[in-house]
């Protein structure tokens, strides 16, 4: 029968597990390299993996400088988005009228093209790191707030009755039941937010910045250095994956009951 093999996270198994994917990656890179070499495709049109690797290595200090700026924007933006999302969802849950007033806006504003609004933010807030963080906050806020709100809505009314029967206050119901019940939903919202956060910071840098991976990307592109454009893309991907992985790890650490619970219930 189909039981989960509990040994699948032991090291050799992990290697074995990713071997096919790694093999595929190597083949892919080899084909790419050989194609570029064979057809002598110019570097500004399509650089080879080795050229990209060299570009990464040669500009690693510059890239790291830009990466730091992007990390600051992303981390602050994501952090503030979490704080804001938690606050808004909490208030909306505790005060049903505020929910009725703001919920439709929450849903509709999710579809506002924030990147299109971004230049206006720059105009009003001036130039600096603030509007960039704000854009990251806004983009990350919606998935977090909306998932958390859904999670705070208790589907299991019996749990509510249990607490009520014990004479729990509204606030105790919130902190003891609704809040932990909403954690998995919060983290799944965070996963989406994390995946998009770096990209958002990069786009907001295009709209005006002197530092950041978005700036590096644009400057490389404007200097016709396509190999560095690829290096920038790799750095952005790695950074995005880093945030994504952090959320996954945090989920495992902070919600030890969740992964198995989900599987068994």
């Amino acid at each position: 029968m189909l039981k989960n093999n509990s040994r699948r996270f032991r090291p050799p198994a992990v290697l074995l597990r990713y071997a096919p994917a790694l093999f595929f990656l190597v083949v892919l890179l080899a084909v790419w390299q050989l194609t570029v070499n064979y057809f002598s495709i110019p570097r500004w049109l399509l650089p080879s993996p080795s050229q990209i690797g060299k570009a990464l290595w040669n500009t690693k200090d510059v890239i790291w400088g830009h990466t730091k700026a992007t990390i600051i924007e992303t981390t602050l933006g994501l952090g503030l988005a979490v704080a804001l999302g938690m606050t808004v969802s909490t208030l909306m849950t505790l005060f049903p009228l505020s929910r009725r007033v703001f919920y439709p806006f929450l849903i509709i504003s999710q579809t506002i093209p924030l990147i299109a609004v971004a230049p206006l933010l720059l105009l009003w807030l001036g130039y600096g790191v603030l509007p960039k963080i704000l854009i990251v906050v806004l983009v990350c806020f919606f998935p977090i707030a909306i998932s958390l709100l859904e999670g705070l809505e208790l589907s299991d009314l019996d749990l509510l009755h249990l607490l009520q029967s014990m004479g729990a206050s509204k606030w105790q119901v919130f902190s003891l039941i609704r809040w932990p019940h909403a954690m998995p939903a919060l983290f799944s919202g965070l996963k989406i937010a994390a995946a998009y956060s770096v990209m958002t910071a990069v786009i907001s840098e295009w709209l005006g910045a002197s530092q950041g991976l978005g700036v590096y990307l644009l400057r490389s592109s404007n200097n016709f250095l396509t190999d560095r454009v690829f290096a920038a893309i790799i750095a952005i991907t790695a950074l995005s994956f880093f945030y994504y992985a952090i959320i996954i790890i945090l989920t495992r650490l902070l919600l030890p009951w969740y992964s198995r619970y989900r599987r068994t219930s």
Partner: protein
């Protein structure tokens, strides 16, 4: 503000200013980085933060609102902004003549505006692009509506010519030099050759009306330092190229050196002083726009630019 200026002077503190570029740091900006590197700003008691651009038209608005003090713009943008009531003023032209033009692959044999019909033009979606192409076509009795206007944003313009773009508008001092490096053979129609009115100033250094009225001394010191920077760049192409590379480590050194060698003689060109702007150039372009019915009113050129803050010797 004036208050701040006086305070700073009293305290012997440098005046903090922001200058925003119009694009990725390039050889148009060399004088600015020289001024920074050689301490010309500091000598004037200024602390200048050179920041990078905000694309999509917000640069002009940021300067207009005073969110940044100075910016790099162009005569076309200043004209368009002033017609929209933005209080922008041009303080100096970085290059005396328009070094831009329309390029196409030599193999496509596009030599005059007549040949533009049925072709695809790749640009930024700027109002001046439509304006100039329309006028140019009219002059040669060609039909502008037969051009397919495509916005290609920040992509590699030269590479786009190998794709389905036939025609694009480049600055020779940057993209033209890249084409030389690649060995890509191009036909170029220079704007200044099309019509004298199109030999306008691009790029220019701008600030806003409030700034020049309330802090004239600061503006004057700023221009003094910048002027010195460009004078150095005119005299020392190789050294100034190295300075630019130092401040823009993301750029391609070979490209910067070749570009600088080409551009250094162009900054001042035939003028008696770097940065000086002629009223006729501002008037002619504005009139040309009006005559060609590209705008519905004339801009008051006298308010759009001033030579009052240029360096004194």
């Amino acid at each position: 503000s004036k208050q701040a200026e006086q305070n700073s002077v009293q305290n012997n503190q440098p005046v903090k200013l922001t200058l925003m570029l119009d694009w990725t740091p390039n050889t148009n900006h060399t004088g600015l980085f020289v001024a920074q590197d050689k301490g010309y700003f500091k000598d004037q008691g200024l602390e200048v933060n050179i920041v990078n651009p905000s694309s999509q038209g917000t640069l002009e608005q940021l300067v207009a609102t005073g969110k940044v003090d100075f910016g790099i713009s162009a005569q076309e943008q200043v004209t368009s902004a002033r017609l929209s009531d933005l209080p922008l003023v041009s303080l100096a032209t970085i290059i005396q003549h328009n070094t831009s033009g329309f390029v196409s692959l030599r193999s496509k044999n596009i030599l005059t505006a007549k040949d533009f019909e049925g072709k695809t033009y790749g640009g930024w979606g700027l109002p001046s692009e439509t304006a100039i192409l329309t006028a140019l076509m009219q002059k040669e009795n060609a039909d502008f509506s037969k051009i397919n206007m495509v916005n290609i944003g920040e992509t590699d313009q030269l590479a786009s010519l190998n794709s389905n773009i036939d025609l694009t508008w480049i600055f020779y001092g940057w993209t033209g030099i890249q084409a030389e490096i690649r060995g890509q053979e191009l036909n170029m129609i220079w704007l200044k050759d099309i019509d004298p009115a199109l030999d306008y100033y691009t790029p220019v250094i701008v600030s806003n009306e409030e700034m020049i009225q309330s802090n004239p001394d600061t503006v004057r010191k700023m221009m003094q330092a910048i002027g010195a920077g460009y004078e150095y760049a005119i005299g020392n192409p190789e050294e100034s190229a190295e300075i630019l590379i130092k401040y823009a480590p993301e750029s391609d050194p070979e490209m910067i050196k070749r570009s600088q060698a080409w551009l250094s003689p162009q900054y001042k060109a035939d003028a008696k002083q770097w940065g000086v702007q002629k009223a006729t150039v501002w008037e002619n372009y504005s009139k040309w726009l009006y005559d060609n019915k590209l705008v519905t009113k004339m801009m008051d050129s006298s308010k759009a630019f001033t030579n009052d803050f240029l360096p004194t010797r």
